[in-house]
Amino acid sequence: MSSLDPTGPDVPIARLRARPERRLWRSLEELARGTAPAGPEFPPGASAPPEPSRRDFLQLLGASAALAGLAGCVREPPEKILPYTRRPEDVAPGNPLHYATAYALDGIATGLLVTSYEGRPTKIEGNPDHPSSRGAAGVFEQALLLSLYDPARARAIRYRGAGRSWRAFLEYAAEAVDLHRKDGGAGLCFLGEPDASPLMADLHERVLRALPAARFFSYAPLAEDAAYEGARLAFGRPLQTRVDFSRARVVVSLDADFLGGGPDRLRAAREFASRRVPESELSRLYVVESALSLTGAMADHRVRMRSSEVVQFALGLALELSPQLQGGPHTQLTATRPLHVMARDLLANQGRSVVVAGARQPPLVHALAHAINAALGNADRTVAYAAPTLPDMAAGPAALAPLVADMRSGRVETLVITAPNPAYTAPADLDFGSALGKVPHAIYHGLYEDETAAQCAWFVPATHSLESWGDARAWDGTVSIVQPLIAPLFAGVTHAELWAAFVGEGDRGAHALVQDYWRRQPGRPDFDAFWEEALHDGVVRGSATRTESVTPRWADIAAAAAAAAAKPTSGGGIELNFLPDSKVYDGRFANNAWLQELPDPITKITWDNALLLSPTTAGRLGVESADLVEVTLRGRSLAAPVFVLPGHADDVASIALGYGRTGLNEELAQGVGANAYLVRPSDAPWFAPGASVRKIGRRARFAITQDHFTMEGRPLALVATPRELRQHPERIEEQRAALPTLYDPVPYPSYRWAMSIDLSRCIGCSACVVACQAENNIPVVGKERVARGREMHWLRIDRYFSGPSALDPEVVFQPVACQHCENAPCEYVCPVNATAHSDEGLNEMVYNRCVGTRYCSNNCPYKVRRFNFFDYVGQRTQPERMLQNPEVSIRSRGVMEKCTYCVQRIERARIDARVAGRTIREGEIQTACQQTCPTRAIVFGSLHDERAEVARLHADERRYDLLHELGTRPRTAYLVRLRNPNPELS
């Protein structure tokens, strides 16, 4: 443990932070003193009271596996109890506390609510009060927890590899500032990621006040420059587009994956899903895209085309819909039938429709989308405009070019890099790495000593978001105060402190910096009350930015359109598409095992990325899935395995960014997948024509969790249109009608726990899978074992392709976890009663009784049981052990495990309720998957109360049972996925 400890027995930074904010820091004072027996790294574990420390999994392993086995001959040594010296108030041992904070991805924040046991964050959930979260969290937010405890994180400040103290760095920074004063800081550059934090903006200004010539650059490989440029083109100034999908009856997506990505994806998903159920007027979604995205998977009609053709399609649509543009030049794209139908459908729904353009598309497409929305009168109804939340809109690869040029020419003397790993994420043609070599004083601030750190003189470890004080803003501008859940594990420094070092305030601590900033803000008579409220709620009320109504500049749009129409559609060859990854994003999460092992929602590939091709194109190139190919674009080439994906556009190859990491410390990320940045051009960062694909002849091995894509005509994930539902009620009736039985029904006098999963709402985003993994201490097993079919996820999301053609499949997602059958086939075959039925209808799995015959799994028709083929928890490293949820047993090798309906939450709620002398209230228990679901697809509750939502959904007309004919009587009900195709097209 001491080897993990950079700073010796006492942790100065922790002490630094321990002072100001008593309410939060009490449980960490032990840490600040740093003298707890277990070493400063694990103060919560060490100073924890008996109950949770008993939960430490090492002992459990001992008790449940080895010692219990030898109980006859071995007596366990007496267990130690290490009580607090002073127990913090409101820390009751074993009772969790919840703190509100926020996490900003590419500068846009999502509000979080973090569960903490004795100062140990163990679970992240969305903050219900936060406008974009509303209680939901995505895969990235959920997985944040694991990266907090990532042993690969950087542990020390270094100068040319040698350890340095923060003090030493501050002196260095001071000197640097003095040196740069002479020319006003012309040689001083800051490279950060786009950041909406008011505090950072303030520091930005203060640096400029001291060094007016200093320059600030923003870089994010997935930045949405085009959207702002599009707005500038359409309205004369960059604006932020806010779409309200809950009001849209018809949605047309021009290569916009608003469900899978984008800064406000959680809100978008929730609003969109609210229109996919019969309770509301069913919306219709048209998607025009090249690679099959989550949004495309939800589409009622999906048009495959090369990304470069989307502009022509948009042009065609605009010409049909906005009279202001008509009479202009005609598109070369012979308007297709779907285009006309779409146009008609949009026209029929003026003011109730919306056209959204994807960030991957050029500004013109965005401008045309704005034009169409204006023409249809959607503006201020389904779509609104506001001043951008992000201060610096130009942050894409193009924006990096001037900086790199200056670095080359030696005009940059000091470069402060806070953007995550630009040396890796910068497009290859910029060759950022070599340019960095030309900067005499490069300072890199990051979570890991990664590719960029290797080329910078100074390295300063960054604090994890859960270790940091700061502030952030949501997409709609709402401000959240970012408060830490735990003192920095590895002597990290916040972003704010680093910049403050250049205005001589680096030693004040982030807490002081952020508090000072907000204290300076006008209109806060009682600052302490404001501060308490902001911290408690996780949002600053009324801080959202106003939307404004704007009118398009038709002439400019028309001119740009004419220019584009004149330009021939992109050249021949294969078009190479670059996609944001659904798991590692731009590569920053590459060392997060939860995300690496999460199956990609569409391809179901884990621990890899792949070059996606359509069946036709693959056939033409004579390659099949898992063939290694060499992709060449503009003389740069890359070796990647092929994955043939139905629904992918022809003559297009798509590859996700963020893989093929080479950072030395991030062992997990090393050598996983292929690095698409190596062929990404800075002038065409999203798609470029003229790529060639050559078969190498070797084959790769994918670890895919779902090899078989079709339903074999079995009634598994049911899909229907409202009409079919009305006309053929028998089709669904036979999937739920009570089956005859010889046995008397089992009475369930009290609660009857049950779940319902609405396939119409599920967008397959997989947030629930990660939430389940975090809540239930589910181990990660690695690529080889996933490939062998030994993944451990209790909750899996099946993805089926259906429909007439493999080229244009219909996609349906189906989350499947233990169905908690009332007649459970797994129960009667277990020879030791390790899986039994509870008096409330739960199918219980008793790990400590299981001997591992695996018979239950054989007899489970849903195949939702998971077996510990090896000792997985024993392989966890020291810091990772801190994230265990103490409420859930850790499973030893050789036992079966499965979804428990989060029984630990049920039991906690039951005990709280019964101690208080009441019954459990509706909605008091939320399973982890339900809690995080952005679309509210999962509902949990008790059937004994007819008013409960789950009871209502179990009686819904769309309800059916999975594998109903087996008579297992599952407690999890599914609701038929509704499709709303346009009669003209079907």
């Binding site: 032990e30 060490a46 109890i81 009580p83 607090y84 010296t85 219980e844 101690v915």
Partner: protein, 216 residues
């Protein structure tokens, strides 16, 4: 030719056959008995503690309520192990020079935890919750015995699953009025059976034996 075996070998062989037959059975029975014996369950005697803390003195003589030190027993799963500050509340004033308390003071002022030895240990896969038991009228003494008479705390109950189930199947004998929870010497007035039944109704006691009640 001479007899290979003398007559006594018959007895030997018969005897050994009997042993063979009985041995297995007897061995099994002994094993089953042993694993429930106080020695195996840990009831075999007091466990040494780093500091000589005498419950007799604090509970019986000083009449300090259990909840003064074990303060979270009504609100949390854990009864709560007193922080050193709790000791010092009193011993800051009284006996604040006593050599017996030297270790406590040292630990308190140097902020090092005293490593106590756990007496009542449940396996890590067992989720016992004090608050619910206390709320339903199960007295401390039912599981912990007359701690007020122990110089060093000894485990009096076997703490086996069978023992837990015994009470969960028939809780009445172990119920008492809530105000008597920490009263270790409390005796039911007359007919404990009737009182038990009354309390089951009054406190709405629903003991459960489903696995997930304790195993999660």
């Amino acid at each position: 030719m001479s007899a290979l075996f003398p007559p006594w070998t018959n007895t030997v062989s018969r005897f050994s056959l009997v042993c063979l037959a009985l041995g297995g059975v007897v061995g099994a029975v002994l094993l089953v008995l042993w694993v429930e014996s106080p020695y195996f369950t840990g009831q075999h005697g007091p466990i040494e503690q780093p500091v000589q803390f005498d419950h007799r003195h604090h509970v019986a003589d000083d009449g300090i309520d259990c909840r003064y030190c074990h303060s979270t027993v009504e609100t949390a799963a854990s009864a709560g192990f007193p922080a050193l500050s709790v000791c010092m509340n009193c011993h800051g004033q009284i006996w604040n020079k006593s050599p017996m308390l030297e270790q406590v003071r040292a630990a308190y002022f140097s902020d090092r935890a005293i490593p106590w030895n756990r007496v009542h240990r449940l396996p890590d896969f067992v989720y016992f919750n004090h608050s619910i038991h206390v709320a339903k009228g199960v007295g401390c003494v039912s599981c912990h015995g007359r701690v007020d008479q122990m110089a060093q705390v000894t485990q009096v109950a076997p703490l086996t699953m069978g023992w837990c189930l015994g009470c969960h199947r028939a809780p009445e004998p172990n119920l008492r009025p809530r105000e008597e929870i920490t009263h270790l010497g409390w005796r039911p007035p007359t007919d404990s059976g009737a009182l038990g039944h009354a309390l089951v109704a009054q406190y709405d006691v629903h003991t459960r034996v489903s696995c997930s009640t304790c195993h999660r």
